[in-house]
Every structure is written in structure tokens, then in C-alpha cells.
Symmetry: D2
Subunit: 356 residues, 4 copies
């Protein structure tokens, strides 16, 4: 099979750098074009980027000339991955879509759009079912637009989906996050703000978490023209920033509408959960979507963020919550499954489903 | 007034070092004896201690000869402050009590004892009312035993007390802590465990928080011979360790038995809360027990832990909780109000009440 | 004595915030005007600043209206302290000087000017002798311009001055610095660059250290119209950034032109060193300019940076250098003696000398 | 070729864990036995170890039963790798040697032994030439004992060897290290000592560096019965601990006995340096022993420690030293090439040379 040509927007940013690493040697996708701000356009990638990854820039990417994010310049791409900031993502991603390109966005701009799927690959790939309707609205043949969830939302919905599938609706969720600095991009969080410190606020993050869960865990309407948002699930989020490089930790309490399962049942369900991504044998799908740990002091960001190449969510400390029903701790790699890794796996799923 | 002679047990530990700094130049108490393990006994304090404070060892303490924690050696002390670890605190503190000494303990050993007050100085100094009964049981004239709360519990109960006084019983509390490394003593947390990391478990901490709240916020029985534990308040705690030197951050959601107050009411009540400690004009009492901050990203450990000399709790981000009623963020200096500072202020209150 | 009216330029920056704390309650100086960028001008200080200090904004400063750094607006100040960045400091400081104001600058712009003293207060306050000549050149009555040294240079020259006074010229110096993030201002060093990392480069810092030592440790010509730079002292500096909030650590090896003193002689000379600043009984002068430590693992930034209110340099680990003569480790608080603290003490010296 | 059976001593420690990762899937060596303290003996490895690596315990190692380090129990091993602490390494390693086993030690105990090679694999594998003499002294057929260098020494001697080969003897070396916490093992450095701090002392480290360079860079006597230590090379080391997980940074100044090469010559020589390890096509040999970087702010621990799988030394900032001749910055992964990685590569070289 011929590989698909892909473009990366925001290629010099922290999410963009992760896209480079994930796609430089990919069996299905070939990096064809890199887009960044006009300041970077015209430069070789290695000269335009402030590379902050522990692995070096892939050799086959170093000398690609960066382009501005003009849709015209990406029209021979089959797929575009966007790591653009929200302030510019809206217009650029829409222009790419209108070029009939398959667009996978990490920005928040279209997440609440009623015809744009908000997909966590190991949770709700069935939301791709809305693509034919989206195409017809935009009068497109091949192109479409799909977004990732927020990184913290992504970590949360994976175990919630497993629990909801097994035990029915979850009525109440209280979640507290301890988020890594890489989530804020570069230069991002000033070191004077975070060394020997915790910052108990991340602008807009709590609102995103409280809203996105309802779309992702909701279903697709029978006519496949709209999403059914969960109506009876309430989420309360508190988001904090901690001095950790990668890996968001979340402590979660949940209440089930139909009564609480036992701890054994919960652990068993989390262990056995599987998603369409593995069944489709996608290249970036983790062996399983959830790694369950039984050690008393796990998961931990430094020790668990790379579990299953950063594409799984690690869940531990499942125990009774005296106020709601069940509480647990989860960890997600915020720039892999929480960002670039979701986009790439979503695109692999779209290929497997024949959408690309 | 003649000052009171005090002994410090566990004087070389991290809590002991804080006692030294708080008491070296105190208007009511004079350091008279220092106790530590037999390994340190017989040495000058400056040679026995691994001093880890940013301020140097007070000159008048450097050359005090450290004793073993033999109660006989402390019998001419009016007061003993104990920063001993739980594995030895039980026997030693009881022996000191039997010497008719007023003992203020930071250990967990006697917190659940039905005749030992568990006192947070700006919350429940009325629990000193049980002292006459405790003395009569032990056949003492001057001595008694009072304990501090756990550091995280201490931070939590200060605003809860203000809210309970104003709005009636709190039925449900979900709290997540992000605790400083100094809470684990020295050597305590290995750096390999906490650099670029969060450890989502602190042995026994969640159980302490879930239980202690009910004793502290409960009342004293009319006959002043027992405590009435709260029966209709449920606490769910998750405790984590973060790479912060001092200052525990807690994110809290609460539900009121009698309906939710408004955010304005909550802020106002927190601002206006005052305790007996200030009214008694105790030396270490903060100007007010709670500092309310309205900045979106506060409180923060590094910037707020020293507020009012570390004896106040800072509360911010008061907002509606979609699941319970109200949520907020608080910060407590874990080795000041959360440990040694509570003991010293408790002792000052006891002096003001004529118990010492 | 009437206090002197002072202005602070760059008042919202990290050095400016230190000036605020040092001057808010000063016996000789009264804060009269605050200058910052045009973006801040017109706002109350508390609204213009992103305050990053562990102590709160002083009450008497909170509501001062910030001005732009227009010299006309500062003409009723006796003294102006400048924490401006080098890119704007040159013009603004010169304009202030021309208003006949005494200007104390932290910027590098005029450090190499042949008629501008580069003064470390506990090292070379005799360089104030050039002020009459400077005034005559600029046709001023009261005004003059004096600069601080670079923060790392400042730490280095204090013990070097003590050694040079006692043992004659130092011919060779190799210094390696490990500098705190606060030295880069705010937002300054991105956390992604420094967490779990060291950055072995600080732009221009090595050149500053290698040059400034020669001016500071050189003398004033007999006619008091020029400085005699050291000609036979060679400095080799390597500067690195480490994840420390405050406090630059420097490891130093030196060779003496006239042969090496013994370790005992070196320690004795460092212990006994005193400067004019203490003799003039200046308010901000440390009890002594150098704290000598004999502990094998000191000085350390977190434990020693506050020594003598951050106005002393702490020196330890004095030992033989197998390559040069003597090696040692020093620590300086980079935003106190290394920046704002030097300026304030310089100004106090100038008052004591009758120059203000 | 049949693989060699290997034992790992100190298998539960931090160096031991690195050995496990390096050897679990090795083409030449097969893990046959794991040794640890008597406290761990009899347990499955996964139960005995506090695993602190970002990658999980290899499946084929998890259930190996740990033994005590009794030489008798390892006698069917061809090779033993020792990550034992110095306080027990001496006796145990000698007992293993007497069982006629090839022993590769990370401890300091035998480094100064006149018949034990101290080998950095990409520097002085020719020191294996002394093995026949060592065997004859101990009356062994197959066994021998070889030690690694100290981790900081290892980083230093790689570029020094390249320079010495090209430009002749180096007469003077001043080196300052900033060492990662993993170098101290587990629990190792308490977090209270290193967060927001630097500790300018590591017990015995400076002495090791100052001595070991002379043995490693010296030669083997013509009769292959002794080592010729460098006599005219003087090393001055200052060692500090910084809050970095892995990767020692060293800033180095050197003086050449025969005059200074140009910066271009130095860079070229470093770039072109190659060692016998690559020529022998050893599995763990890096592509080249030195990675030269020309970025102004590199090498950095977090970004460069994994270069060439942690088996290369990264060198940057080559520039003139005003005091000696040349200065530069280097980085070594302290638990890979600086410890376990050296041992494994040394053993591969020994196999290639027919010694095992």
C-alpha cells in the first residue's frame, strides 16, 4: 500500500516535535510538509526549531524546508496533523479542510462543533460515523476534520469508558489533576513559577474537562448526523500544575447511577477493557488501553508515563470512596496519548476504516 | 511573669528543629532541655543535629547538651514539646505525662485516645476543657497530654470550622492533597523518588485525615469528660507527595447538610473568621486564622506558605462545585501551623487559660 | 536627618521587586516614585506587577501609581535605583543622570565606562573617589552614576579582595558558576529548559566575569580621574544555570603571583576581612563581608543564601589546588548582594560619604 | 556461538537495575543468576527489588530467585557483573575471582590494585593485556578481575584520551563536576538536601578523579606485568551534586605539555576519535565514543544523556581558556557509560579478545 502524505502544522512547537518523532519512521504515513509561523517559513527544520526532545531530530526531517501554514501549500497532503495554538488554529484548520484534506487537530477550537467528532482513539472511534454527514455539509470528497480531546480529559475518559460500558452511567465525577509543564508548550511555564511550587490553576482547563467528557462518552445519533451529549453526568474538575516534565496525574472519585460495583469488579473491568484501535491492528495502538497497577504508590509520572509507549492510561489505587462510590488514580502521557499520539492513532483508525 | 521551662523531644529531627527556631527567643517559654535518641545524648546540640533550616542554629541553643528522652531527666520542665516519631512517642510521652509535665505531642499515638484532646489551636481550643478530667484519671496536678492534628488535617479543619460555624454541618468532604517533602522528615523522601515526579500515596495519611476531622470539629460533652465525634460528616481523602519543600496544598469540595451558601457568603465567612487564640493575645497566634486570596492562581506553596508567619491557612479559588456544593484550594505550612507551630500555640493557649 | 527620596526604575521586574522589599521600610531612603514600561504606567503598583516574592507587597507601596521611566518625572528624586534591562537602561539612566540625580544601576551598559565606578560595596567603595571628576565632566552638582557588578562577579571579588589585600596579586583565576534561575528575571528561564537539567551557558556572563574583576580589584589613579585595571590577572570563567531559585554557587581556583599562603592563612584572612561599609555603619552592611564555613558540604544555596541577610558571601572548602594554588567554593545571594542589595548599600555608602 | 552465563551482584541496586536492562536481551550474555543481600535472598527478583527505572522489569527476569552473594552459588557463571557497594565488594569480588570467574566490578576497591586493570572501554581496552599476568598470580584459568572507573572519571578520560593521542601529554587539568543524584544510589540523596539546592561535596569523589586519570591514560609496561601511571599530569577536581536525575556534566580546562592546538584541531580530533570497541564491533559500543556539539548551550543532561544509547560522551563549548589552554564542557550518562554500560562493554571486548 502506498503511504499517505502528511503535513504537520505547528511543527516547531512541543506537540509538533512529538508528531515529528512519531511520524518520521511510520509505516503508513510519510512526512511531506512542515508548517509553522511565517518567522520559521523558508528555513530548514533544524534551523527553525528549538528542539527539546531527548531523542535527536530524525535525519530525514532535519533539512525539510518549513512552510507557512497556507492551505494552498498543503493541498497535496492526504492528511494534516495540527499542533497549532488555539489563537490561529481555527482559520488555518478550516482552510485546510476546504482543500479536501483530512485534518486532525489538537486545538480546542472545533471540539464543541456539533458536526466535528471529538475522538479519543481508545474510547470513541465510532464517532467517525459522522464524517459522511460532515463531508456532505462541507461538500468534500476526501477531507474531514476531527479533533483530539484535551490531554487531561483524554486520561480521564479511558477508564470512565471501561466503567460505563460495564456498569452503566456514571452520574458524578470529581477529578483533581496534577499536570506536567510540557502541557503548556515552550517557553510555557516560567521556572520561577514552578520550581519548589504548585500552581493551582490552568486557564480554561477545568471548563474543558467538565464539558468534553459528556461529548466523548455520549453516543452518535441513529441518523449519524449529530452527537448525543451525556445529560446526567456531572463533572467537577480542579486542575493544578506541578514540577513534572511529562505525565498528568489525576485523582478521581466517581458515583455510578445504578449502584457501585465492587473493587474487584472495577479492577477486572479495567484490566479487560479493549478498544477498536487494537482490533483494527493500528500501528500506534497500545497492546491494551489501560495498564492496571496494584502497587500502593503507583502510578507515578516518571515511572509510568512511558507504559506501552505512552499510548496507554495507567490506573491504580482503586478503592472505595466514602463520599461517592469508587476512587482511583490515573496517569496519562500528556504529549503522547494526550496529544500527538491520539492524533496519529485517530488517523490510523481512519485509514483502517477507509476514510483516508 | 517567670517564663516556663520547656523541653523538646526529638530535638534533632525536622519538627524538633522548627521547635528550636520558634522557642529560642520566646517571651513565655525558655528552652531548658533537649531530648533525642541515645546516639545523640551527651553531645552538644550543634554536634548532634544535621541542621537543615535556612536560618542558623540559635546561639543560645548550640551548646546545650542533648539528653536521652528519659522522663526523669525532664522532670523540672513545665512543658514538653514532642516531635518524636510514632514508633517511640507512645511510651516516652506517657512517661513524661506521669512526671506531671504538660506534654504537647505531634505524634499520632494518642490522637484517638478518648480523653486526649486533639487540638488545632485556631479551631478547637475549647477541647482543653477535658484536661481536668484527664488529670483526675491520671492522678496528676499539673501535667496533661494534648496532641496536634496531622499536618494535612490541620489545614483542612481551619476553613471547615469557619464554614461549619456559619452554615451548619458539612455532610461530605472530598479532599486531595499535594504534600511537601519536609512532611516526611529527614532523610525522608529519596530524591530519586520525587524529582520530576509525584508519588500518589503517603502511608496512613488518608486514614488520619478521614478520621481526625470528626474529632476536631466535634464538640466536648456537657460533663467535659468525653468528645462528641461528628457522626454525619464523611471525608474522602487522597494524599500525594510533590517536589515542594514546605507547604501542603489541598483541593477541597464540600457539601453542606442545610444547603449551600453563596460564594460571596463563603468568602465573607472565611475572611471574618477569628479564633480564641487571637482573642487571648497569644504570642504565636496569627493576626487571623485564614488569609483569603482572590487571585486566580493562588494559593501557591512557595509564595503563600509564610503568610502570617506560617500560622494562617491561605484559602483561594472559592467556587461552585458541580458535584457537591463548594470547592476551594487551601495551603498550610506543614512544619509551622501543621506541626511545631500548632504545638507552641496550643501551649500558649494553655498558659493563657491557666492550665500551665 | 531627613530621608532621601528615591525612585525605582524597572520596579515591576525581579530586581525591582527586591528593591521594593529593601526600601519599603528603610531608615535613610523613602520610596517616592516607581518607574516601569509604558504598559505599566498609570496603574497602581499592585496591579502592574506580577509579584513573585515570598513576602507580600509592602502596604505603603501597593497603591503607588507607576510612571513611565521619563527622567522629567523623577527629577524630584535624590536617588534613582535602576533594575532596568540592558536594552533600555543606557538611554534612561543617562537621562536620569542629566537631571542631576544620583543613579545606581544594575545594568551592564556603563560598567566599562572609564569614568563610571563599578562598585561592589564590601570591596571597592573607594572608587567613589572618581565622582567629583565624573560630575565635572557632566557639569552636575548632585547627580552621578555608579553601577553594580554582575551578580557572579560580585560573589567572586569579595573573597578575592580579602586575599589580594593579604597576599598580594592573584595572577590566575579559574571559576565555574552554578547560577540560580532568578538571575534571568521573569519569565526568564523556561521550566522545560531547567527541570532535571543544567544549561551550561549564560549569554555574555563569562565575558563579564573575565573583565569586571580587573576593574573592581584595580585601583583609582592618583589624580582620581581614572581607574587602573589589573593587568596581570587572568580570569577564566565557565557559567552554568541550575534548577535553584536563588543563590549562585561558584567553585574557584586561584594562583598567587607571590607564592601560595597556607590554608590556615587563607581561612584566617577570609574570617577577618572587613570593609568600609561596616565601618561607616551603613544600615544594609553585613556584620562582616564573608562568612567562612568549615563544614565539608557547605556552602549550599538553600541553606546559606540568607546568611547575614543575603549581604555576605559564604566561603567554604578552602583547600589546596593541585594545578593552581588554592581552591574554594563560594555562595552569593544573586538578587540581594548580587543585585539590589549592592545598589542599596552603595547608596548608603554614598550618603555616609556625603555624596548624596 | 553459545551465549555466556552471567551473574549480577547487587542486582537490586540502581547499578544492578541498569545491568538487568542492558543484559535482559543481550546477544552474547544470558542472565543466569542474581545476587543481593541476604535480606533479598530467596525472593523472586520482582519482590526483592524497588524498581526505579522508567522501563518495566524485563519479563524474563521478574521471577528469577535472588541468591545471596556467595561465590559458591555463582560458580557456573562465566561472567559476574558487580554493582556492589564498596563496603562489601572487596571480599565478595575476590571470592568470585577465586572461583575462576571473569569479574567486572563497579566498586572502587580494586581500582588501585597494581595488577587489576581499570578500564574505560572506549579509552584503554589495551589494559586487558595484563590479564595473563593477573591470572598467573592468582593461579586461574578463566577468571580475572577488571574494574570500571568512577563515573565522573569515565566522562573525563574519553575526550582526554583523544586529545592526548593527537597532541601529546596533558600536563594540567582542572575539572568541575555537576553530578546527577542517581550516582548516589537508592535511597541515596535525600530530597530535602537537593531540591532548590546544590551540594558542593561528594565524599571521596575528587580524590578518585584526581588519581584514576593517571592510571587509565597511562600505559601498560612492556612486560605486561604492570601499569605505567602518568607522572606529569596533575588533576584538580571539584565535585558537586545537582538536582538532575541522570547525567554528569563536567566543565574542564586543560593545558598541553607541548603547546596548545587550535580550537578547530581540538574539535576535529574529538569528532574523529575512535576506539577499539567499535572496531571489534562490540554490541554495546557506541557508533563513536564522542559526540561533538556546536550549539552554544549544549551538552545538557536532559537532552544529551541518551546520545548513542548513553554510551558516548558528548562534548561541546570547546574554546580557549585564558588560564590554561583549552576549556570545554562534557556530559556522560553516569549509570550507562559511567557504570553498568562500561562493565558490559568491557565484557564484550573481553569476549572479542578471547579472554572469556
Amino acid at each position: 500500500m502506498a503511504t499517505k502524505k502528511v503535513g504537520i502544522l505547528g511543527a516547531t512547537g512541543t506537540v509538533g516535535q512529538r508528531f515529528i518523532l512519531l511520524l518520521a519512521d511510520h509505516p503508513v504515513f510519510t512526512i511531506h510538509a512542515l508548517g509553522a509561523s511565517s518567522r520559521s517559513a523558508g528555513k530548514a527544520y533544524k534551523d527553525a526549531v528549538r528542539w527539546k526532545q531527548a531523542r535527536p531530530i530524525p535525519e530525514n526531517v532535519k533539512d525539510i524546508t518549513v512552510k507557512s501554514c497556507d492551505a494552498e501549500l498543503f493541498k497535496d497532503c492526504d492528511v494534516v496533523f495540527s499542533g497549532l495554538d488555539a489563537d490561529v488554529a481555527g482559520d488555518i484548520e478550516m482552510a485546510m479542510l476546504k482543500q479536501d484534506i483530512a485534518v486532525f487537530s489538537n486545538a480546542k477550537n472545533y471540539r464543541r462543533d456539533p458536526v466535528v467528532p471529538l475522538i479519543v482513539p481508545t474510547v470513541n472511534p465510532d464517532h467517525f460515523d459522522l464524517i459522511p454527514h460532515q463531508r456532505s455539509l462541507h461538500n468534500l470528497k476526501k477531507g474531514f476534520l476531527v479533533t483530539n480531546a484535551n490531554c487531561s480529559t483524554t486520561g480521564l475518559v479511558v477508564p470512565l469508558k471501561a466503567l460505563q460500558d460495564a456498569f452503566g452511567p456514571i452520574s458524578h465525577i470529581i477529578v483533581n489533576t496534577q499536570q506536567a509543564i510540557s502541557g503548556a508548550g515552550y517557553p510555557g511555564v516560567p521556572s520561577l513559577d514552578i520550581l519548589d511550587n504548585v500552581v493551582p490553576h490552568i486557564g480554561g482547563e477545568e471548563e474543558k474537562m467538565e464539558w468534553e467528557v459528556g461529548k466523548i462518552l455520549g453516543g452518535v445519533a441513529d441518523d449519524k448526523k449529530s452527537f448525543s451529549l451525556l445529560e446526567n453526568t456531572v463533572v467537577s474538575a480542579t486542575c493544578t500544575r506541578v514540577p513534572v516534565l511529562d505525565g498528568h496525574l489525576e485523582t478521581v472519585s466517581v458515583k455510578f447511577a445504578n449502584g457501585s460495583p465492587s473493587l474487584e469488579q472495577v479492577n477486572q473491568v479495567l484490566e479487560k477493557y479493549s478498544s477498536e484501535a487494537e482490533k483494527l491492528q493500528c500501528h500506534s495502538a497500545p497492546e491494551k488501553p489501560i495498564v492496571v497497577t496494584y502497587d500502593a504508590d503507583r502510578p507515578q509520572p516518571r515511572l509510568d508515563r512511558e507504559n506501552l509507549k505512552g499510548q496507554a492510561v495507567t490506573v491504580g489505587r482503586v478503592r472505595k470512596c466514602p463520599v461517592l462510590d469508587i476512587k482511583f488514580v490515573l496517569l496519562i502521557h500528556n504529549t503522547l496519548l494526550g496529544a500527538a499520539g491520539s492524533s496519529v492513532l485517530n488517523a490510523e483508525i481512519a485509514v483502517a476504516k477507509g476514510l483516508i
